[in-house]
């Protein structure tokens, strides 16, 4: 039964991934991307890694996709369609994708995977202890580094959004100079 669910999910992911890059309408390809991400969340649910699945849903489906939709909705009119790239570019991109796929597949097939028999459900408690432990195998350093990174990006976003009055004036002047 789990095997069938896996195949259904894999089919969903692949079909919508292809649809996402081939669709000419921008918002539609965003929605196809959403279905791909939901399919990946489904695979996490299948291997009983519920926390990661919920993270996938919140961060990607609920956060990033909503942001992309926002930006598309703000700039994109309903009748606009994306242009098809030139033939030479299409072939180049196709070749690059094939090379990437070849590297990926050779790595997967040459790596000896250990089949684990047990099925352990990772609880949120384990993840919390793992994140905050400073012994071997703990993730306290990456955790702190990421929090500083997030703080820096938050402050940066506020500074950019607020802008300085003097700065703005200078910029406007610069632009007018450029025009002249």
């Amino acid at each position: 039964m789990e095997r069938y669910i896996f195949y259904i999910l894999a089919l969903i992911i692949i079909v919508f991934a292809i649809a996402s890059v081939t669709s000419k309408k921008m918002l539609r390809s965003v929605i196809y991307l959403l279905f791909t991400l939901c399919g990946i969340a489904g695979i996490y649910f299948l291997i009983d890694y519920n926390f990661l699945a919920a993270i996938q849903l919140t961060v990607y489906a609920g956060g990033i996709i909503v942001l992309i939709i926002f930006s598309v909705v703000l700039i994109h009119h309903i009748e606009m369609e994306l242009e098809v790239a030139k033939k030479s570019k299409q072939i180049l991109v196709g070749l690059a994708c094939l090379v990437g796929l070849a590297v990926f597949l050779t790595t997967i097939y040459s790596h000896p995977f250990n089949v684990v028999e047990n099925s352990v459900t990772t609880t949120t408690e384990d993840i919390g202890f793992g994140l905050l432990s400073y012994e071997t195998g703990g993730f306290i350093l990456p955790f702190e580094v990421i929090s500083i990174l997030l703080l820096a990006s938050m402050i940066g976003a506020i500074v950019i959004a607020k802008g300085g009055k003097t700065n703005f004036g200078n910029k406007a002047k610069d632009n007018s100079n450029l025009k002249n």
Binding site: M1, L27, R28, A54, T58, V66, I69, V73
Partner: protein, 354 residues
């Protein structure tokens, strides 16, 4: 009297009596899905009727009173009417996304419904990250509203959808943080365990001051997240027509409408489970009769639903800037302080336990 409400187990056992195991599993899943669909539609219609009755009561009117005894069948008749109506659409709309949008809204609220413990064993999906799963699912519903507003190719609908997006994204933070405050006491995200912890007193009593703050913040943010008055900027009739569902008709409109009411039920049910002990009876008066848990759960939820309706018919609508000021300048800092206060109280063992 002993009614078994352990639905997944009961149906799997019943079906595996005369079916092979895998078929029995799938059959049980289908039956449970149908039960939840039935609960979904009946609860939705019932809530619409209650809303109209409450509104009538607040405005000193009678409310629906013609169809059936005391107008009880009014919403059923409305649903039948909506099913028989023509489905119209705008000419230059993106048909695919336009038709897809209602399903996002309705599927996300249906998924959220599955994790609630209606009583000890009446729970379809007891996932170990229950509360977090609810927050994750509720963040998907907004995509349906944004899509519906954009794909209608209508300015009012688009503005309504954008407002809804801003509102839902901001108030989601408060909902999440206020629930996180309570998780500090329970130490678990699993809904059945959260109820189990409350056998020593409901969490709003155990956590006293910060818990009451968290409950107040949760109810405000929850009302805003379901786009209900006084936060219904999304469908402000005086400014936007009907907001994001202006172009929807018939059953597709009804999906949005039902999902809104079910979302209200979900917000109230989360509050009842996390703050007021879910299916536990007050002072354990009916502990010997387990199936009465459904009654207590629904009674608590309905009280909170009534509270939300009370908000709706009492307060005037906010402006957009007031709405965002309330969240980012007042609720969010208050919430962060509240989490620290709760952590201190849990750390110093100042919780009230019976």
């Amino acid at each position: 009297m002993n009614i078994s409400l352990n639905i997944t187990k009961t149906f799997t056992e019943l079906l595996s009596g005369f079916l092979p195991e895998s078929t029995a599993n799938i059959g049980a899943m289908v039956i449970i899905a149908l039960i939840y669909l039935a609960i979904f539609s009946v609860a939705g219609l019932f809530l619409v009727l209650i809303e109209r009755k409450v509104a009538a009561w607040f405005q000193l009117r009678l409310g629906p009173n013609r169809v059936g005894p005391w107008g009880l069948l009014q919403t059923m008749a409305d649903a039948l009417k909506l099913v028989s109506k023509e489905l119209t659409g705008t000419v230059k709309a993106d048909k695919f996304l336009y038709n897809l949008a209602p399903y996002f809204v309705i599927v996300s609220s249906l998924m959220a419904l599955s994790v609630f413990p209606f009583t000890q064993n009446f729970q379809a999906f007891d996932i170990n990250i229950g509360l977090f799963f609810l927050i994750a699912i509720s963040s998907i519903g907004v995509i349906g509203i944004l899509l519906g507003g954009w794909a209608s190719n209508n300015k009012f609908a688009l503005i309504g959808a954008m407002r809804s997006g801003v509102q839902t994204i901001s108030y989601e933070i408060s909902v999440g943080l206020s629930l996180l405050t309570m998780v500090l006491i329970t130490g678990s995200l699993q809904l059945s365990e959260i109820v189990e912890v409350q056998k020593n007193g409901w969490l709003i009593v155990q956590g006293h001051i910060p818990a009451i703050f968290a409950f107040m913040i949760y109810m405000i943010a929850g009302t805003a997240e379901t786009n209900r008055a006084p936060f219904d900027m999304v469908e402000a009739e005086s400014e936007l027509g009907a907001g994001f569902h202006t172009e929807y008709s018939g059953m597709k409109f009804a999906y949005f409408f039902l999902a809104e009411f079910i979302n209200m039920f979900i917000i109230a049910a989360i509050a009842a489970t996390v703050f007021f002990g879910g299916w536990l009876s007050p002072f354990g008066i009916t502990d010997s009769i387990p199936w009465l848990g459904v009654f207590w759960f629904l009674a608590k939820t309905m009280t909170l639903v009534f509270l939300m309706m009370w908000f709706r018919w009492t307060f005037p609508r906010l402006r957009v800037d007031q709405l965002l000021t309330l969240e980012w300048k007042y609720l969010l800092p208050l919430n962060l302080l509240n989490i620290i206060l709760m952590a201190l109280i849990v750390w110093l063992n100042l919780t009230i336990q019976f």
